[in-house]
């Protein structure tokens, strides 16, 4: 356990080292936040109450999205490139005979990274957004705690998805295609481009049940106090359920992959 805590702390420190990259990320998130906020304003002007949100809630949704983009790894978990490269080059063989579990090791790295991203890349765009626009902020202080729990669960689900993606490299060698598909699903089905509550009919119903909803839509709804009290239990169960299922799938795939590992190179 202490080992994994140390790995997580290392993940945090590693990303904290790249200050320019963090500043650049904050800048980009903020620019996108502004662009999206204006498009949402045009949309909610035409259709007030769309998707069950009023204008202030829709705008808050935009900035929550920008804050969680890096934290919940919507466009990449930050580790899958490295892990796939290790499979491709054969370095993975070294990892496999280390006295640590592959999945837990990378989960710790991802948790450390997300913790930094939330502080480093999440807080600043959210604060700028709140200054520039009239955002709906939680009325009850406890909502902040509930939100953080939901984000933490989202981080685990995100990791589980990206771990599966990374393991595909054992079979495909070049995982770029799978990464792209995962990246797509991550941006579209998480509600990053448009809240899932705005999606029409069956598309919306399916999208709200997929694992990606855990990454943004669900935490955002917790933040906006759309899910409170006992509903929160169901919400957490939904996220934790996906986390367990996907982590278990990762375990199985890892077992199969290591049995057929062929190290390249000579």
């Amino acid at each position: 356990m202490r080992l994994y805590a140390a790995v997580a702390a290392g993940g945090f420190r590693r990303y904290a080292t790249y200050r320019v990259a963090t500043a650049a990320g904050v800048f980009t998130n903020t620019v996108f936040g502004f662009i999206l906020a204006y498009t949402y304003m045009a949309l909610w002007d035409e259709r007030p109450g769309l998707g069950g949100y009023d204008m202030a809630e829709a705008l808050a949704y935009v900035w929550i999205g920008q804050a969680l983009l890096a934290t919940c790894g919507l466009m990449g978990g930050g580790f899958e490139d490295e892990l796939m490269e290790r499979v491709k080059t054969g370095d993975i063989a070294v990892d496999l005979y280390r006295p640590a579990d592959l999945q837990l090791w990378w989960l710790s790295v991802a948790v450390g990274r997300s913790a930094f991203q939330l502080l480093g890349r999440g807080v600043a765009p959210m604060a700028i957004g709140a200054l520039a626009f009239d955002l709906a902020l939680p009325e009850r202080p406890l909502t902040w705690v509930a939100f953080l729990v939901s984000v933490a669960l989202g981080v685990v689900v995100s990791f589980a998805v990206w771990f599966l993606v990374a393991l595909s490299a054992f079979w495909l060698m070049d995982g770029a295609g799978v990464v792209q598909v995962a990246w797509l699903s991550g941006t579209f089905f998480s509600g990053m481009l448009l809240p899932l509550t705005v999606f029409p009919g069956a598309l919306g119903e399916v999208a709200r049940l997929l694992p990606w909803a855990s990454l943004l839509q669900v935490p955002a709804d917790v933040f906006l106090e759309k899910r409170t009290g006992w509903e929160l239990v169901g919400t957490y169960a939904f996220q934790a359920g996906w986390a367990v299922v996907l982590l278990a799938a990762g375990r199985v795939l890892q077992a199969v992959a290591t049995r057929r590992v062929v190290v390249q190179g000579g």
Binding site: A24, T39, G177
Partner: protein
């Protein structure tokens, strides 16, 4: 210039052959590149499923804005998108290898790992553009007809110049590739929507400070018979190629300054 283009072509062709080794992966990336950018448009479709107009612009008009900027950005991303990887080369010092070869560095960096899958974005942008042209109810004049391809080509040049400036910036800020994204991907997203929905200060900034508006807003609004953004006169619709040329002069100077300041990594 000629030698640079030739080298670019050779290196790009080499990467295309290399990509084709992993055919399944290539097919997947091409398809997902097409759909990835498609999802972008699905969002606009979903929006118009809920409303009849955005800021007084109809679906066909927004699709026209989307198609013009999408195609221009797709072409720039295909031809020069790889330059944003420069920061990595500066960090680990592998840029040195490129400097000793008798080929312009920009051509090498731009063609490095040339990604043919990015054709997906171009195709998707073009498809929307054609669709919008079918739907649009515009009184076409010869000038307006000529303006459509000119818009796409100038937009291509403007976006590519922005990418080169972004790459040059990485000579100083090696981890700063995301800043360029704000202008390239961010600009592309911004230009998909009509300027009237944005704060007018933001629009003026895009017209006069970083003139991305010339990618499509200025000429496209002329084609659509609407008022130019940021209080520009009507003839401004035709100066996009000039703006593109100015962009490239700036990009060339920035690139030169960047490469001159390059110091390899010490150990």
């Amino acid at each position: 210039m000629g030698a640079g283009l030739r080298a670019y072509g050779l290196i790009a062709a080499m990467w295309v052959r290399s990509t084709m080794t992993y055919r399944f992966s290539f097919a997947m990336t091409l398809l997902s590149n097409f759909t990835a950018t498609g999802f972008d448009f699905v969002v606009i479709l979903l929006m118009f499923g809920q409303v009849d107009g955005l800021g007084g612009f109809s679906f066909a008009e927004v699709a026209f804005l989307y198609g013009t900027t999408g195609t221009a950005f797709g072409l720039a991303d295909l031809s020069l998108g790889q330059v944003q990887r420069l920061g990595r080369r500066v960090r680990d010092g592998t840029l040195d290898t490129l400097l000793v070869r008798p080929v312009p560095v920009l051509a090498q960096v731009a063609a490095d790992r040339f990604a043919l899958r990015r054709l997906g974005r171009v195709t998707q942008g073009l498809a929307v553009l054609v669709w919008s042209l079918v739907l649009l109810d515009v009184a076409w004049t010869p000038a307006k007809v000529v303006l459509v391809p000119v818009t796409v080509l100038s937009g291509w040049l403007i976006f590519s110049a922005v990418m080169v400036v972004g790459a040059a910036f990485q000579f100083w800020a090696q981890d700063g590739s995301e800043v360029a994204n704000a202008f390239t991907y961010g600009g592309n997203t911004l230009l998909q929507y009509p300027p009237v929905i944005f704060a007018q200060d933001l629009v003026r900034g895009v017209v006069y400070v970083v003139p991305l508006a010339f990618v499509n807003w200025v000429p496209a609004l002329y084609v659509l018979g609407r008022q130019a953004p940021g209080g520009l006169p009507g003839w401004a619709a035709f100066v996009s190629p000039v703006v593109a040329a100015v962009f490239w002069v700036v990009a060339g100077l920035a690139w030169r300054a960047g490469i001159r300041s390059y110091r390899s990594t010490g150990s």
